[in-house]
Point group: C2
Chain length 399, copies 2
Amino acid sequence: MANERKAVIVGAGLVGALWAVILAKRGYQVDVYERRADFRQAGYVGGRSINLALSERGWKAVEIAGIREKIEAVAIPMPGRMMHGTDGALTYQPYGEEGQAIYSVSRGGLNIELVNIADEFSQVRFHFNQACLGVDLDNSSVRFEDTRTGVQYAIESDLIFGTDGAFSPVRQSLQKLPRFNYSQQYIDYGYKELCIPPNEDETHRMHTNGLHIWPRGQFMLIALPNVDGSFTCTLFLPFEGEASFENLKSEVQVMAFFEKYFPDVIPLMPTLVQDFAENPTSALVTVRCNPWHYHHKILLLGDAAHAIVPFFGQGMNCGFEDCTILDSLMDKYEENWPAIMEEFSANRPEDSNAIADLALLNFIEMRDKVADPKFLLWKKSKSTCTSGSRRSFNRCIQW
Amino acid sequence: MANERKAVIVGAGLVGALWAVILAKRGYQVDVYERRADFRQAGYVGGRSINLALSERGWKAVEIAGIREKIEAVAIPMPGRMMHGTDGALTYQPYGEEGQAIYSVSRGGLNIELVNIADEFSQVRFHFNQACLGVDLDNSSVRFEDTRTGVQYAIESDLIFGTDGAFSPVRQSLQKLPRFNYSQQYIDYGYKELCIPPNEDETHRMHTNGLHIWPRGQFMLIALPNVDGSFTCTLFLPFEGEASFENLKSEVQVMAFFEKYFPDVIPLMPTLVQDFAENPTSALVTVRCNPWHYHHKILLLGDAAHAIVPFFGQGMNCGFEDCTILDSLMDKYEENWPAIMEEFSANRPEDSNAIADLALLNFIEMRDKVADPKFLLWKKSKSTCTSGSRRSFNRCIQW
């Protein structure tokens, strides 16, 4: 029986790789197809990633996969946030009680670790360099192109998981179905990855165990620690307007902007100007769709089903939670996939939509707060950011 | 100068054909590509159309094209609506003052007429059997496949209009752009085309000059007259639930349903059972997107930009109004297309979104009204549908 159960996973990203582990542990034969080259050899293409904060919601799935210790090895606990004022003053705020933390993980590092763990199962096979071209809904097969040879082919399966991200080709095929509801909405802000490299002795150049935030009202910079001693930094900024990416085209403009708003960062970022020019300015999208499954054979998970903006730090965690819920539904329905998919697709979107809304609302609130004198007062005064006013701070930055 | 101005129109539907006429009148060389075979020879494929009600909003564009008389020849004035009670009683309500009317046009008849009119211009060329595969945004070209030969090719143009309908391939290409907002939302109702053929002497079997409605609370049937003496009928019904398409699978079920709710229609529809089985059950979608243009070279119009549900009778009229507004912007900006597209794409979506909302709201109101005792009272009593209560009737059926 165990050998008869087969599944195809489209996309070896975070959710796809974790889901492969969970299915493999249950005895499924899993084939994972991935557009990119094997990033364990080819290197993880960076330049547009935002570091992730693994929270309880995500750890649950990691525990179900039985790999908590392995993931902890690439994760850095952040028991609090470190706010950087324009004057360089630091304010540290614990997130919760002693021992509680969210965990910084680099997308690349975590993805490589998850693929390695999945690859240890004999019944998991990874197929890299295989770009999904879409799904043939009639015969439940996925079309791929080998990006090295150009050869196109189709793989049939009665159990196909689309974990192929916010721009999912699997979902694009579903989108052509009558009665498939779909929405992609961008906000007017973009983001750019920047980097604070390690010291020569591979230690961090700032406090290691914290999520660093430079809140500046209409925009902000964040920095999350990596295990190699570096920080992955992300600048969130409007595309257009006075302080915007549109107005940061030249080296001089970039330096003047950082000198004005982030002076303490400049000495920590030796490649600032270069990174700013070379790394893309990426957009931030919310994707909602329904239904998530097709004929009980094809199911969307993670960003493919519900991409959200990052201001709640819950994108990956929600995708991992999809795995947790599916795992419990597999128990509940004894791996009867029609029943599992029906319940999952009927109930889960409400939760993911709620988190999508919270992420957007929080961003709007944060953006609007700048016009509020209380917010400006809070920015000027470290004291308002401690003890009593944590709630108001939380409203501004949910990370 | 006049001969240098060229445009490509993707889609020879209602808006595409009308827009070709308006551009041709201004001296543009226009190439219109259409996926379908020439419906003037091949016949217009019916079975899933809803007759259209041309209103003032739409006539304006027809007048700009200088073809009012030709369109009036295929349009039947409907100065009022004729409501059919379950007991067969008829109630006629004028829409407005003496001489005011909306005009019934069959989609096929109007489309053929518009293509014929456009074809009279020497500088308009129609290319049928050419399926759009998408747009290459980098070099502003449209990819087509000749559906008879399978040959694929691309046409470059600095002025491309996507009038290719609610499932627009042109829009699908734009949808992959960062910061392209897009939404397709279906309602839980479907529709099915049915037919009341003419009498043997080619006269109408019901009152000619009226929009016939059989309102039944949760669902309704409508019938609009055609110039050949027939009526195109449309049944709007939930996909699932007690009274639903799901429960109308057999001949017996269909007949029982019509005998219960539309007994007066049965003798008028000799092919009812056959039509019900053969014509598809189609879905009703609202499409919203933004921006409508790309690099001032590609512009979406009509359903490709803003498909709406039919309960306001404004889908085609809105598409025609796009043409009216663009025509006035061509005057305002002296055919400076970047300026025209900027203003059109910045302002027009707000109006089309408003109409999309009204169409949906009206449908929700209509659907919910059934639980309202006043609505039931209104259904039972002809008198409440005349004189004083026109407003409440209008709330229920906006046509």
